[in-house]
Every structure is written in structure tokens, then in C-alpha cells.
């Protein structure tokens, strides 16, 4: 009797939320996301190119050739360095802005809105703007020249060591408004009483920030670091618009390499790099997110 009752209750529950509602979304996901991802694991081991019609199995030739000519390691290194730099800058700028604009005044609200404009602009457009700004005879050197009184001609986008840092700053410039908003929302959630108690204990502003406010921002840090890392590892637009991977391949992200080799018709090599990017993100992103989540629990 009681089993009958639970069955009678359970069966409509299942029918109320029929599984076929899942089917259209799953079909699109499988066809346009998971099948291409599986193809990555297949075509990276072929000689697929635009120069011949047949596609043959080629073993690990793509990997060995990309490894031996140094592009694989270079692109990996550049992508990692870029991701770390962007995560650092974007969070530093975003947090700085959030602290600067924390109070709810009319000026602050207006400035916050202004800092969100780069977020909604096309990354490609941002890249072109900074290409013009950072040219050796561009506006930034003009300003520096006016300040120092001497002619300044720093090749911001032509240095094999420092250009990746400059481009990472541009990337962080575009997205810092988003990080700022997330940090502002995080700061709002901090209980006023906790701050008041610390103030009564004689904590100064810096101590309060270091010991109370920053630790309590952990969820915002998680979100911002994770999105900055993911966004920059998948980066393309800003680098393509400013340096196109140069000078000398020192800013050649995996996606820049993939686009360039694809354009040359070397599809299998591009696929190999696409697989490398997939593995890099899989290997890095999940542990990083887990680590940041754990940090939230501890604090």
C-alpha cells in the first residue's frame, strides 16, 4: 500500500519533467562542441592539410615537428606567461579601482560606469586603439616626451622581452572594469559590524584591508582569477590587433599560432595546437578553481 502510494507520487514527478526537454540542447552540444573536441584527438595525428585531398594517419609527427622546431614550447610558455600576467594585472587594477571607488557618491558611480565601457567594446578595437597609442611616434611617447622634455621613442610593441607585459596590461585594461564590479559587489557583502569591531580595536586602514576585507573577498578573487586566466589563455583579439604574435614570436599565443597555421593550410598542425590548448586549460583550470574554492572554505 505504502509502496503504491510512493509510486503514484513518484511517477508523475518524472513525467512532469520529461527527459526529452534535454534532447535539443544535448544534440547541439554534442554536434557543435563535443564532436569537434573528439575530432581534435583524431586529426592531431593525421597529415590533414589544404595541399592534398586525402587525410592519412601520421602518428605523432605533428607533435615531434612542433616540439623540435620549438614552436610548441614557445607558444605554451607565451600563453602561460600571458595568462599569469593578465590575471595579476586585471585583479590588481580591478581591486585598486574598487577600493578607490568604493563609496557610493555620484562621482564614483559615474566613474564606475566609465570604467565599464572598455568591457563592452570589441577587444579587436581595443587592440587597434592601443596599437596607435603605443607606436614609437605615438601618443604615449608624446606624453612622456612632454613630461621629461626629451624625445621619447620607446618601442612598446617592438621589444622581445617587455612587449608581452605591455600587451597583458592592455588586456587587463579592457577587462579591469569587470573585475572592479565583482570586487565592489564583494566589498558590499562584508558585514559592517565586523569592520566596526576592528576599528574599535584600533586597526588602521591597511591592517583592516589585509586582515579582514581582503580575506573576505575570497569568492570575488576566485571568480576574477578564474575568468582572467580562462579569458587570457583563450586570448586572440588584442594580441592579433597589437603585435600579431611578434616581435620574433614572443607574444605568439596558442590561438595566434592556430590562426596563422590554419591560414597557411596546415590544418593538422593547427589541430595539434588546438589539442594542446584544450589539454592546457583542462590540466590548469580545474585544479586552479578547486584550489581557489578550497581557499574560500579555509578563510
Amino acid at each position: 500500500m505504502s509502496t503504491n502510494l510512493t509510486l503514484a507520487k513518484a511517477r508523475p514527478r518524472q513525467q512532469d519533467h520529461p527527459l526529452w526537454f534535454l534532447v535539443p540542447a544535448l544534440v547541439v552540444l554534442v554536434v557543435f562542441f563535443f564532436v569537434p573536441t573528439l575530432f581534435n584527438f583524431v586529426y592531431a595525428f593525421t597529415d590533414w592539410s589544404s595541399f592534398k585531398s586525402a587525410i592519412n594517419f601520421a602518428g605523432i609527427d605533428n607533435f615531434t615537428s612542433l616540439f623540435s622546431n620549438g614552436t610548441l614550447l614557445n607558444s605554451l610558455k607565451v600563453t602561460l606567461v600571458y595568462a599569469v600576467l593578465v590575471a595579476l594585472f586585471q585583479n590588481a587594477f580591478g581591486l585598486g579601482l574598487a577600493l578607490l571607488l568604493e563609496r557610493d557618491t555620484r562621482v564614483n558611480r559615474a566613474v564606475r560606469v566609465a570604467f565599464f565601457i572598455p568591457v563592452i567594446m570589441s577587444a579587436l578595437a581595443v587592440g587597434y586603439i592601443f596599437q596607435a597609442l603605443l607606436k614609437p611616434d605615438g601618443a604615449l611617447n608624446g606624453i612622456l616626451g612632454a613630461l621629461t622634455g626629451a624625445d621619447v621613442a620607446i618601442p612598446w610593441l617592438g621589444d622581445t622581452t617587455w612587449t608581452i607585459v605591455v600587451v597583458a596590461v592592455v588586456h587587463a585594461w579592457k577587462w579591469m572594469g569587470l573585475s572592479m564590479l565583482i570586487y565592489l559587489a564583494g566589498l558590499k557583502t562584508i558585514n559592517e559590524d565586523v569592520l566596526e569591531a576592528a576599528r574599535l580595536d584600533g586597526a588602521n586602514r591597511w591592517t583592516m584591508f589585509r586582515a579582514i576585507r581582503f580575506p573576505l573577498l575570497a569568492p570575488a578573487v576566485t571568480f576574477n582569477v578564474a575568468t582572467a586566466l580562462l579569458g587570457s589563455m583563450n586570448g586572440f583579439d588584442i594580441v592579433q590587433a597589437t603585435t600579431e604574435g611578434g616581435p620574433g614570436g614572443t607574444t605568439e599565443l596558442l590561438n595566434i599560432f592556430i590562426f596563422r597555421t590554419f591560414g597557411q593550410g596546415l590544418f593538422a598542425q593547427a589541430t595539434t595546437m588546438s589539442l594542446v590548448l584544450f589539454l592546457l586549460v583542462t590540466i590548469l583550470a580545474f585544479p586552479v578553481i578547486r584550489f581557489l574554492r578550497k581557499r574560500e572554505d579555509v578563510l
Binding site: 518524472q14 512532469d16 519533467h17 520529461p18 527527459l19 526537454f21 534535454l22 535539443p24 540542447a25 544535448l26 547541439v28 552540444l29 554536434v31 557543435f32 562542441f33 569537434p36 573536441t37 575530432f39 581534435n40 586529426y43 590533414w48 578607490l100 571607488l101 563609496r103 566613474v111 560606469v113 566609465a114 565599464f116 565601457i117 563592452i120 570589441s122 577587444a123 579587436l124 578595437a125 587597434y128 586603439i129 596607435a132 597609442l133 607606436k135 605615438g138 601618443a139 604615449l140 564590479l181 559587489a185 564583494g186 570575488a220 571568480f223 583579439d237 590561438n255 592556430i258 590562426f259 590554419f262 590544418f267 593547427a270 588546438s274 584544450f278 586549460v281 583542462t282 580545474f286 578553481i289
Partner: protein, 293 residues
């Protein structure tokens, strides 16, 4: 009685005393805020507007000098007539609108089921469905797949690719939201004899409005500004605004035409900019709501 009076009055008296030193610093903060904005945002934005208002000779080397003669509207007109801006605008709409509507409908359908059903199967499907938030799309092999499907270079193929990329985001946002909707609301409709489709369309979908608004904004932002995936899938076949900007800026014809490039950038940013200015409060609260929990 008098003790309680002084008890409440005392902190009130000390509070202004404690805040007094900060109030003296007050004018510094707005000045700092405006100065930072002027330097960090004002310089690049001024460069764009000033250069977009110059003629070709003056804009040859973009600098911060004001144009000798403001020709912003002339340059807008030149971009409109020389470039393929209008067709690129409609190309952008052609791939964005169906993709956004598609992910919202399919994503909410799936999210409703995933949010309501327990069990290992739906947990596994959910994990798989949201993995796309983190995993990068396989951009090269997707071109191969589209060729095999006969969709290479078509708007439909591009829409499919965008849907595959952003369904995860919608499923993630909406499933979390569905779990906060009380079961009783569905039950009430069911008692009246409504089937699942009716319950979904009449009860669930209207309740999802706020979260769907947030998802719409995010996905529009991504697709409107995307150039990387568009280059692979529809590059050279269908124009979108970023694709067109890329061609314009990298083509020899326009190489030295910074005034037209920047005029183009202003024009292509305007739709999102206007949307943002009109709806900024909702956009900001929508974007930040999910992040800090």
C-alpha cells in the same frame, strides 16, 4: 532613564568625532577618482575621438592634438559609403539573434529538467553540459565538421557553433535559478491539467526573465565582439562588424587610414554602448549577482 539617554547619545557624539579626520580628506577622493579616469580612460578615448575627426593627412600619425577641423560626421559618412558597414551590421545581427534566441530556449528547457530532477544521470548530464564554460572550443576541427555537414561558411553553421559554445553558460545560470523557484507554482498549473510544455511556457519561462536577461546581455556581448571564431567559420563569406574591422584594418587599402578605422570603431561600439547606458543598472546588478556567492 537618563542613563539610557546618555547611552545612546554617547556613540552618536563619538561617531562624528571619529569620522572627522576622514571628512577632511573627502575632496581628495573624488579628485583622485576623476584624475585616474582621465588618465587611464580619457587618453585612449580622446585619441579615438580626435583621430576619428581628422582628415587623412592629419590622422596619418595618430596623436592627442585636437583636429584643426572637426570632421567626425564626414568620416562616419565615408565609412558608411566606402566600407561594407551596413551589410556587416546585418551580418552581425544574422548570426547573433538566432544564436541568442536558440541558446536561451534550448538552455532553459534543459536547465528546467536538470534543476528539477535528482539522480546520477542528471548530475552527469549537468556536469557535461556546463563543462563548456571552461573548456576551449575545438576551433579547427569544427570547420572540418561544418564542411562534412555542408554548413561551412553559412550563417547556420556559425549559429550552431555559437550555440555550442554558450549553451553551457545558459544552462549554468538558469539551472541555479530554477532551483530557487518553488515547486508549488508548477503544481498549481499541473492541478489545472497543464502538461509539461504548458507548465514550462506559461509558468517557468516568465519566471526566468531576470536570469535570461543577464544571460542575453553576456552572450550578446561575446558574439557581437567575437572575431576569432568568426574568422574560422564564416571569414570571407559573411561579413560581421568585427570581421569587417579586421579586414579594413589589415588591408593595404586602409593601412594609413586611422581616421576611418577609429570612426568605424566608434560606430560599431555604439549599439552596445547605447544599450549599456540605457540599462546599466540592470546590467551591472545582473552580472555581479552570481559572481560573489
Amino acid at each position: 532613564m537618563s542613563t539610557t539617554a546618555t547611552g545612546t547619545a554617547a556613540p552618536r557624539r563619538t561617531a562624528p568625532a571619529r569620522r572627522a579626520p576622514r571628512r577632511r580628506r573627502l575632496p581628495l577622493q573624488p579628485i583622485a577618482a576623476i584624475l585616474v579616469a582621465a588618465l587611464v580612460l580619457g587618453v585612449p578615448f580622446w585619441l579615438v575621438v580626435a583621430t576619428a575627426s581628422k582628415d587623412q593627412a592629419e590622422a596619418l600619425n595618430p596623436n592627442l592634438e585636437a583636429p584643426s577641423e572637426w570632421r567626425l560626421l564626414d568620416n562616419f559618412a565615408a565609412v558608411f559609403s566606402d566600407g561594407r558597414m551596413m551589410s556587416a551590421f546585418f551580418g552581425s545581427l544574422l548570426v547573433m539573434v538566432p544564436a541568442v534566441v536558440g541558446v536561451l530556449v534550448l538552455g532553459s528547457m534543459a536547465a528546467w529538467i536538470l534543476g528539477r530532477r535528482g539522480g546520477r544521470l542528471s548530475a552527469a548530464v549537468y556536469a557535461l553540459a556546463i563543462s563548456g564554460i571552461v573548456l576551449p572550443p575545438a576551433v579547427v576541427t569544427i570547420v572540418l565538421l561544418l564542411r562534412q555537414l555542408g554548413l561551412a561558411g553559412t550563417a547556420l553553421g556559425m549559429v550552431g557553433v555559437y550555440m555550442g559554445m554558450y549553451l553551457s553558460t545558459v544552462v549554468f545560470f538558469v539551472t541555479g535559478f530554477v532551483r530557487t523557484i518553488p515547486h508549488e507554482l508548477e503544481e498549481a498549473a499541473r492541478v489545472d491539467g497543464a502538461g509539461p510544455v504548458r507548465v514550462f511556457v506559461r509558468v517557468i519561462l516568465p519566471l526566468l526573465k531576470p536570469v535570461l536577461a543577464t544571460a542575453t546581455i553576456l552572450i550578446c556581448l561575446y558574439i557581437w565582439n567575437d572575431v576569432f571564431y568568426a574568422l574560422f567559420v564564416i571569414g570571407g563569406r559573411i561579413d560581421t562588424l568585427p570581421l569587417n574591422l579586421y579586414q579594413v584594418a589589415s588591408a593595404g587599402l586602409y593601412l594609413q587610414n586611422w581616421h576611418l578605422i577609429f570612426a568605424y570603431i566608434i560606430l560599431m561600439s555604439l549599439p552596445l554602448l547605447i544599450t549599456f547606458v540605457v540599462a546599466q543598472r540592470r546590467i551591472i546588478s545582473g552580472i555581479t549577482s552570481g559572481a560573489v556567492k
